[in-house]
Structure formats: C-alpha cells, structure tokens
Amino acid sequence: MKVRHALRALDGILRREMMRSLRQRARLFSAMVRPLVWLAIFAAGFRSVLGLSITPPYQTYVLYEVYVVPGLAAMMLLFHAMASSLAMVYDREMGSMRLLLTAPLPRWYLLAARLLASVVVGLPLVYLFLFVARFWDVRPPALGYVAVFPALVLSGLMLGAFGLLVSSMSTQMENFAGVMNFVIFPMFFASTALYPIWRLAEAGRVLATIAAWNPFSSAVELIRFALYLRFDMVSMLVVVACLVAFFLAAVAGYDPGRGLWSRRSGEG
C-alpha cells in the first residue's frame, strides 16, 4: 500500500461522502432540527426549574437544558452513524460497495477511510448545534469547544464503527427499521444522555446498570466532561476499546470469505 495511493483513496471517499451529504439537504436539515426539537420541547418538559443536583463535571446546579446538550450532541453522532451505515447497505445493493471494496487497498483501510469520512462530514453539524444551544443559555467555557473536538471525533468513530458492524450484518435496507427499534432507541434511552445515573437508579437498579455499561453513555460522558474542560479517563478507555472491537468485528463482517457477507453472496 503506497502512501500516495492510500491518500488518494481517502480523498476520493471523503469527497464522495461530502457530496452525498450536501446533496441530501433534507437529511442535513432534519439532522439539525432533531436535537433542537429535543432541546426546545422535550427538555422544556423536564425543565427542573429548581436545578438538578450537582453531578460531575458540573460544579453547581444546572437546568435540564444544560444537562441534556452533551447527550443530544452524542445523539447526533449516533443518528449520523446509523444513517451512514444505512448508506453502506444502500451502496451494497446498488453495487458501488463492490467497486469500493475491490480497490487494490486493504479492506480495513477502505473501511477505516469510509468511517473517518463519515465522522468528518458529521462534525460541523454537531458544532452548529452546540453554538445554537447557547440561545438556551447552555454556555460551556470557550475552550470547551476546542477540548470537545477530540471527544466528538473519538465518539463519532466509535459509533460509526458500530454502524459499520450493524451494516455488515444487515442484509437489506428494509431491516433498517429494526435497527432503529432495537439498536438506536435502547442505546439512546438507556444511557446518561437524558438522565444522570442517580435519576436512573431511582427508576431501577437494572436500568442504572445497563446505562453504566452502555458504551453510548461513555461517549456522552466523554463529550460532557470535555465540554467543561475535564477529562474522563474511564469513559475514554471504554470508547477506545469499543471503537477497536466494533471496527475489527466490522472488518471481519465485510470479509467476503467469512460472515454474513459470504452467506449473502450465496443467496445471489
């Protein structure tokens, strides 16, 4: 694998992702509106006018809007990752995936490039959301917007790798509704994105335990801590470990000789 060749492939994949995302205006728009609906309507109902108890990294009482913003940023990454994985399934049905994977470069590299491209395309929207959230008085320190960048990239890569894994296992686009119901919703709701862990513990030990082990919670907390200039080591380790595990599993899943991919070729 020559470096120049590899870079050209990366460049091509990046451009394709960008063009696709810019062409899908409706998707861009809905990706932006979704967290704002949550912030403006859902969070309003849970407003907690008297302030939420102090939960790190916050050093004082915060309103629910302040608490939920990092979770919504992670939600944007999750939906983006799933939409991107849906696009993978679509690519496969249309045949362009075959074209990509037959490029004379290692499969893992092509998948990693695809993953990176997807995160790069998704990040500007998250930043736009974080800035718009300032109108709801969610004002992390200025440096927090810089510190959150690596946290967003890592979380985006981890969720993207998870999306890749899901796409390697799902054989048809129709299955995506199932992915939505059985993957995105549980992952999002049973996490610390919407409620702090002590609030979940009030609802039930089981839910709190699930949320504590949910890698999406780690992504949320990594983002939350970084946004307030704190570093959450445990969350980072969990996110990195999950990223590696999901990615390796996805690479194995996309191996024509193995996994569901081979079964699917058998069908055709």
């Binding site: 008297l50 302030g51 102090i54």
Partner: protein, 319 residues
Amino acid sequence: MQTLIALGLALVLVPPAAAETIYVSNEQDNTVAVVDGATMTLQAAIDVGRRPRGMALSVDKKVLFVAEGDDNRIDVVDLAKRQVVGQLPSGADPEFFVVHPDGKRLFVANENDNQVSVVDIAGAKIIGTVDVGVEPEGMAVSGDGRTVACTSETTSMIHLIDAATLELIDNLLVDTRPRAAAFSVDGKQLWVSSEIRGSVTVFDTATRAQTGKTEFEVPGIRREGVQAVGIEMSRDGATAYVALGPANRIAEVDTKTFTVRRLYLVGQRPWHVALSDDQKQLISANGNSGDISFIDLENQEVVKSLPGGRGPWGVVIGP
C-alpha cells in the same frame, strides 16, 4: 524589547484579586465556615454558639460578630486566630444585627421580645432598648450612621430609629413578612424585602414615601415559591441583589428602573448574599442544600456550589 516582554507577561499574568475570605454561619452545625474566595475551597470551621445566623464585621475588620439565637448572646470571633475570643450580651433570641459606623455599638433585633437592643462593644453591655413591632428581624444602618432601620416580620412594618436618641422616628407599612432591609450607598433609598409577597419595596429616606417596587417572578415556579429575603447593594449604587429563598435564585435588580436584569440559579433556599470587595463575585448561603454558591458577575454565571455545612444562613466577606 525585554521590557516589552516583561510588560506583556505582566499583562497576561494579572495577579488574582486580593485574596478574600468568606465567612458563612451554619445555623444547624453551630459553626462559621471559613472559605477562601480565590480558590473557592473550605478552609476551616470555627465552633461558635448555638444557632448562629446574623453576622457582621467590626469596623476595623479584625473581628467577626456572630448572633447566637439559642444562646441569647453575640460571639466575638478573632479572624486571625479563627476562634471565639469573647462574648457580648444581645437580649433574647438575636437573629440579625448591624454594626453602627461609629464602630462602638451593635443594634440587635430581639425576635421574641419585640425590641431592638443597643450593645456597647467595649463595655460588653446593653445600653439601651427600643420597642418595635412583633418579631423584629431585618436590620440596616444608613451610611451616615444617623438612622437604623428594623423590620418586624409579624407587624409587616419597617421601623426607623434615630441612632443618637434611640427614639422611633417613623413606622412604615410594608409587604407581608419583611425579612431584610438595606440602605442604598448614597443613603437616599431604603430597600425592604417581603418574604410572603416575594417583593422588595423601595422608600425615599427623605420623604419616607414609596418610590419603587419589584415583584419577583420565576417562570415555572408558583408564586408562593418565590420569597424575597437577603438584600445586598452594589457599591456603585446601580444594582441590588436579592435572595429568592425557595425559588433557588438570586435576582439582580436595576436600582433605577426596579426591573430584574437576570436570575442566577443557586443551591436550595438561599438566605443571604454578599459581594466581594472588588464587586466581581457574589456569594449566596443556601440553607437547604447546605452549600455556598459563587457567582462570577463579570461572566454572569454561577461557577461553583461548595458544600459548607448544615444550614448556611448568613454570609460576610472579609479580608
């Protein structure tokens, strides 16, 4: 060039504001918490008498007077030694008091006896009493030292006392359950908070007529949940800060228009607030959540809430 660099460094490394110490009375712990204002950390807890609430610094800022409601006395805390070095009589159930600008006398509200006791600090004795309304609580003294104001919770009045003759000058009816009073820095206005009405009423001290009023509202909180208690006036006279009790908020009020500029979310049930000497930091003592909130007034945000003991009530900022 070197001087330029040095100048540049000096500009970057602006020394932090002169270190200030914050004193908070914990009415359920019988302590006064000592907090470093710069680092926002708890430094010590000074053991004092039972149910400490109202506090004030001596004019030379070397000692702190603490009213001990259940011990019917005032403790004198040496700030250098951080311990009680003396006691003053106060009359029954002292809740709040002020140090007269002459530095020699304290004016203490005796909640159960419906009177104000005047305490001679040097002689450690009560040198006079003034009868006021039922359950006197809030105390204030004008900058020129001529007038002392006392609110009576049950009578819903503010009583004006001539500090020299100890005669009542006037009694003004105010909103229900007045808790605190404060003179404006120029002495022209007198602010009184009402706990039940959730309001502050402002009087002209010359004509004794009401000149302004602010009724507090916090969106999402029922009206009874918004109660006005402690008041702190900024030195420039432009702003008053009012603790809103169970609404968990501190209101920033414009003293010209009597409108609320903004509300700060702090811990549960803030009783009193105090401004740092540089007027950049506001501290609230939050009775129910047992913590102290630090508000950065330059950036207009609450930066931290520090656990400080059980039942924080009064707050005083010293050197």
